[in-house]
Symmetry: C2
Subunit: 173 residues, 2 copies
Amino acid sequence: MEQGFAATTVPEITARAGLTTRTFFRHFADKREVFFAGDEIPEVARRLLAEAPADLDPVTLLEQGLRQVAAARFDGRREEIRQRRAVILAEPALRERDAQKRDDLVRVVRPALVARGVEAVEAALLAELTVVVLHVAHDTWLDAPVEQPMAEVVAACFTRLRGVLSPGPARIV
Amino acid sequence: MEQGFAATTVPEITARAGLTTRTFFRHFADKREVFFAGDEIPEVARRLLAEAPADLDPVTLLEQGLRQVAAARFDGRREEIRQRRAVILAEPALRERDAQKRDDLVRVVRPALVARGVEAVEAALLAELTVVVLHVAHDTWLDAPVEQPMAEVVAACFTRLRGVLSPGPARIV
């Protein structure tokens, strides 16, 4: 935030944190990695998918999972997450890594849905949809004038998708 | 395909094409750009969205637009597009540019939906959903044992999304 991501060196980071660069590199491959450390959404998703009741329909499962992740990781941290987004958007190397994280989540959700008996194309669509809802909810939650519970923003996204995609006569918007 | 994207130089490309490198660089900033030349899906999307009847509901509009793009750009080119995918997947710089193209499409569709009166969060969700359907349909179409019309694959993706997201009692899959 003070001097930009690109202009900040690992020795500067470790000096501020009171660590040696040797300790730093024992934990992180590069300074990009320290920025994404603790971002274990794919691992949480893997566990939630493995533990969910086998008869839960996939959309309910994904919505419940996203709501749990949302409540645990976002609420009360809006200013920090807003700063983080600004730093990511300003730096191509971070944007690329962030996009990679989205792909990582698709690669966790898709086979987990297939393992639950969801047809392959449906599993691909739903895995990508999960990432889309997380992404749109994330920006909506950050940009709202007052902070709402992130789980409510996730639920509102699913409600909108259900409404706009429900079969029936053409809707005039 | 013969020697890999990274190992192929601009002089090699221009020699094979019977051009000077000067002509090459008059048209393309680098060899990555020549790979994505003619990939004008965002421009086609912009035109389709501008020309569509104002009372068409947004999902029907997006489905019809994707079906038109699909028929015009994919059918009959499966072998070429399959080779292209293999080259892109093998080269990080091309994967990154390909992801950028997906973002470009979101950035065209989203404001066009807002201009048609679609609420902002719904427009964001539908713009991302359009890219998801194009992406999943693209892979489904490439991986099918026999070539189907791409427009049918797109329509099947929308049918699946409508089915899985339709409100009502929980579906057991």
